[in-house]
Symmetry: C3
Subunit: 250 residues, 3 copies
Amino acid sequence: MTIPATPIVTFTTDFGTSDAYVAEMKAMVLREARRATLVDVTHQIAGQDVVSGAYVLERAVRAFPEGTIHVCVVDPGVGSDRKLLIANVNEQIILAPDNGLITWAYERFSDVSTHELLWRPTQEPSATFHGRDILAPVAGLIAAGNFDFEHTRRLDRPVLLDHRIATSLAEARVIYIDRFGNAITNVPPTLLNNHTYVSDIGPIRKTFSEVEIGDPLALVGSSGLLEIAVRNQNAASQLDLVVGSVIRFR
Amino acid sequence: MTIPATPIVTFTTDFGTSDAYVAEMKAMVLREARRATLVDVTHQIAGQDVVSGAYVLERAVRAFPEGTIHVCVVDPGVGSDRKLLIANVNEQIILAPDNGLITWAYERFSDVSTHELLWRPTQEPSATFHGRDILAPVAGLIAAGNFDFEHTRRLDRPVLLDHRIATSLAEARVIYIDRFGNAITNVPPTLLNNHTYVSDIGPIRKTFSEVEIGDPLALVGSSGLLEIAVRNQNAASQLDLVVGSVIRFR
Amino acid sequence: MTIPATPIVTFTTDFGTSDAYVAEMKAMVLREARRATLVDVTHQIAGQDVVSGAYVLERAVRAFPEGTIHVCVVDPGVGSDRKLLIANVNEQIILAPDNGLITWAYERFSDVSTHELLWRPTQEPSATFHGRDILAPVAGLIAAGNFDFEHTRRLDRPVLLDHRIATSLAEARVIYIDRFGNAITNVPPTLLNNHTYVSDIGPIRKTFSEVEIGDPLALVGSSGLLEIAVRNQNAASQLDLVVGSVIRFR
């Protein structure tokens, strides 16, 4: 992996956007790497919702180019003894608490290596804001080519959520609801064939326009996973789907 | 039109900011044009509200400098056979579905040319996310100076909304409500003179401070159009104004 | 103070993110300084809430490096005769209306100098959007090294809010509620010692993990000020704290 001259640093948090917290993290990155390109993935992860954070982070890792550095902070355990993680995934770097945020990226890419992040600032970090005081400066140091990887220690068993890609249709679950109300499942296209029929929904479709406005459909969406939708409407509320809902086939 | 060495790419969508979708579009731009400056116009256009999207997009085109590339995705017809549009407006480029989003820019600038965008990625695009799979890569290619304009075809009659700049005061309508509750109309200053009096509101004012806090006023606002406001309060809710409301004069 | 070759410009406003207003300000900066790095602090300051704006702005000034330019617009008096302010604080520049937004930065840093900003655009500015028409172009000119500081005039007494850092525990007040419901006070650590005990809360803690989930605690948070929190929950709603609430000690 090569960190480019104009490195990209992304941010995925549950901080919201009404406080200065996100900007404070960016300031720490820019102090180390003035030429970094900063991209918000989202700061609207529901408070302490590590499951959704893990899903969104994996989408970012899928989209961004080699050398991108992802800072992800959904951290109910801040101030406890949970570890901090630095991971290499898909030729990119993830910096996050070791609380399961890595799960979905860990599951879907084969080239993953994980280390514990031991780096700490010379000034004692705030007890409540490791994103700003540890993860962001490390992102900046990596972006600038100035991070000493001796400040890491191999960690072979990161915390993983009980939240896996389906290996059979019997395991199909909703793993994420997006803002349009589309319900993304853990079912990859490899489990589907022309005969697959989603109970109460219908056959697998190619596009929304195969059904009428207001009708439900199942299709492999932009996530590369099976999604349950209602054309131009909100599937989650109309079909009572939540994270964890079981999807049945026949 | 010249695309500068540090090109600007803007984004106007109804995607919200809670998912990874916006970041995925930005990733596609940065894959092609690492030095691009990315600017969010808004991702809070109400779901599938092409009318508001068209208004906001025109404001962006008015503000940004020559060579800026605007990606605009409010796209109820994704997956149907609606075309994709590439337009030159005010020495800038707009990439958007051909569903009327271009309307307000088309109306207010004289130097508009429109083409159908025929470029498609080598891998078949997602049926649901042409913003990420087609428009963003094209924005990146243009920003990098690598787009082949042979992948376009002249399109003289883009879809336009029934939504026009007023040519007489009889046509005056509210076209947009901003987050402060100001009601922007389709009335340009050229239709107004010293005697113009807005019914139930009063004469045209120069500044908010000409009326008391809580009182309504009409003034040519930062849009360059007549706006109906209430000083330090929400005009739309207090005066029952919505998009489409008729404004009367005497 | 030196403005670097890739200058940083930040934005703190009550504009929300649903309109084009923020992007229009950024466009004006980029017209003057194409290589500027633009960072949003927040646009979710409650409408015309100068007190919260002043607190958030100070956090930004504390976080960013030398030479950063901060544009702050929470401006109930736009269109009246309130002045515009240009301030040097902590080796950075603040551009804001002279309505008290500077207060918290003014209080917490010792190296402050303030001037009235006299620069106006050649075209008469909009009566309602000085952020876009005056402050943003000036930020761009400064970022590009092209601002003529003759367009300023010494202003020794900027408007300050009745809103001060505590000099004794008797003055302790809540000054800001963050999105997690943490209540930040005006009490700096220098007023605290090992015996300080917050009434109805408990002793000063080092980390959240010293109390059980759902229990209240007082600690010096990432603000560098005493904060009242409830572990993993919302302190403001559970303890009925609002801006201005008195904090008692024993």
